[in-house]
Symmetry: C2
Subunit: 431 residues, 2 copies
Amino acid sequence: MVYRVGLLGLGTVGTGVVEILQRPPHPLLQAVEIAAVGVRSLDKPRLVPIPPECLTTNLEGIVSDPEIDAVIELMGGLEPARSLILKAIDHGKPVITANKAVIARYGEEIFQAAAQARVAVLLEAAVGGGIPVIQALQQSLRASRIQAVWGIINGTTNFILSQMAQEGSSFAEALAQAQAHGYAEADPSADVEGWDAADKIAILASLAFGVSVPRQAIPCEGIGSISSTDIRYAREWGYTFKLLAIAQRAEGQGGEPTLDIRVHPALLPVTHPLANIHGVDNAVWVQGDPLGQVVLSGPGAGRGPTASAVVGDLLILLAHLQTGAQLPNPLWGFAASPPVASLLPLAEAQSEFYVRVLAQDRPGVMGAIGTCFGRHGVSLESITQKECHQELAEIVILTHSVREADCRQALAEIQQLPQVAEIPSLFRVLR
Amino acid sequence: MVYRVGLLGLGTVGTGVVEILQRPPHPLLQAVEIAAVGVRSLDKPRLVPIPPECLTTNLEGIVSDPEIDAVIELMGGLEPARSLILKAIDHGKPVITANKAVIARYGEEIFQAAAQARVAVLLEAAVGGGIPVIQALQQSLRASRIQAVWGIINGTTNFILSQMAQEGSSFAEALAQAQAHGYAEADPSADVEGWDAADKIAILASLAFGVSVPRQAIPCEGIGSISSTDIRYAREWGYTFKLLAIAQRAEGQGGEPTLDIRVHPALLPVTHPLANIHGVDNAVWVQGDPLGQVVLSGPGAGRGPTASAVVGDLLILLAHLQTGAQLPNPLWGFAASPPVASLLPLAEAQSEFYVRVLAQDRPGVMGAIGTCFGRHGVSLESITQKECHQELAEIVILTHSVREADCRQALAEIQQLPQVAEIPSLFRVLR
């Protein structure tokens, strides 16, 4: 048997895929022939040998070519990736994609089309690079009722935060280092603002909870507001900063089931399993009943790991064909026509908080701050005066677990206190 | 559709399986009916409601009953588990098992029988409880060439070592605590001597490297010889003790490819991903090319996690049936008729070593010890005199990476030095 694959895109990951297939690590992969590679420019030098007659700029031609058995989409971006994926499905071709952006926004449309056409869409490489988290959430872990999925699923921001923690760098210095290493792009917004992590948690939530999550409804805060001062103080209390992508079951105000989904930096106790994920590594922490807590970690990006995940999907597809199956595996992909999740408004979410206040160094300030919190039902773990800068004292408050809206209302009032100059930091503490 | 399942054994895990199926977490599982449960005693009180007519002591009857669609073997032990599994296969029934002992010893026989009968044998629950490590090694990760699999895959010993490290307990005290918690059996040998971990690494090695590993050929050292003194010294140098199960590619003496497989305690740098796995948790660290390093961790045993893995396999089986497949998935199970691995003799393995020597507190002792090591080509990182007890000084040596046989020959000579009283500790240092 020869299994003819069409590749859309020959960038970093595409090159890695070709490299793996040149020396197939599993006998089933020996059947694969890269029959066509769709690229933007035919003249660009390539790191892997591709026969010139396989290279084409006609990507539409690949997805509609009756000679092509399956399509691997590695272009990234929304269009033309979405249209090409849909067209491939329409022509009865299974699709393997590493494109988190397109799945996070058009996953429902794509998986409904795939279900109708009875073809598979596999996406292991879309989240967590080489970490086999998609398959785990689609299959083994579905025997438990998943309660929560927390992820460090953006390597760039984890590198920046690791640098800030280990080297004492400022955010700007750490970002520059990430750019120098090629971990961050010239415009780092998608990583630093948490948008990339939001794409990925939308996908993980869909798989874990069987619901469709509107991507634009995910509250998203970046890491740009974390100062080296905050990192230092957090460490003194035994916490580390991480950009977390969170999806978990929660009760709404009326007790109705909702999905609490959000991306933001948070302080984690250094003993938390996600606290020891350093550098560009990714990790996903899954809590289920009766499963307990499972953590999958590893390289979240890069040519080799991501290509390994793509070829893993190809292997799974080939193995499936060998069984004589007539239909794709029902555990692949999202639930068909999933209900849209009712999302918990961020204001209703419960967290502990870390707050840093700059106030005049006078008696009574800490009492005034404490009184404001108390008036809004925010009970405190500690108020500590830290360093003084000129006439301003730095006061750090750790709250117990409270409703976010209550904490913010208290802070709005504290901001108005005559002794208070500024509230430079407000972060959630998770455990 | 009704899918009639026969359960062999209704102990801890069997009870957990019934509990999950009472409230199926996935729609496909609604088809499952527990049609028969094979037990030793009909009179024993049960934690889950099973209709009396389903309970039977006739286990042979279950595996040959034409009304039963699949068999779940949760008895443990070698016989009659092995014979019942083979008989179920013989009657064309897929088998799900949590039995690491039987798979480690008879996996090849069982999977050959399954291949001939064209039925599936699934074993996610046999290693690592709820951690989806088997499926990962069988599927996604097979797109990389696996170089090494290291596991903390025995919760009992990890609990004991964690207690010793955190509480400063002796081995005997920590073992007693493990027994009090129900983590260790009255006869703890299978855990403490590393035999359970050896069963599991035999299975992981078969999956990762596609070779058959004779279980009895796996060198195995337990944790009983680790003293609280060693744990304290190790911590001073930044190491922690873990019972590691290791399987990795290595070169034999003639440069031929071999499998380096072993179970023993080792010192790991506290920054190693496996060093932060505490208590009864398990973790498996996989290194592959071009995958990089992936760690899967979580609860390695217990009713809920193990039952979740068993039901996960059942879900995978049901999903497979929905595709109209005629054959089991070729990625399940071991490679058919795998070659037997050529194993690297432990004497040839390379490690750094931690050695603790008791010697008379006289000038020249450290020089004499260093000279002996040097004579056998063992280069040292440090020789440090620690505490003195009566007239004996405690000397701790850390070597560079050396051939194990060379280190042991040097130690045999050191043992003969007139100033040396005893060599109470010799452990490998891995990183």
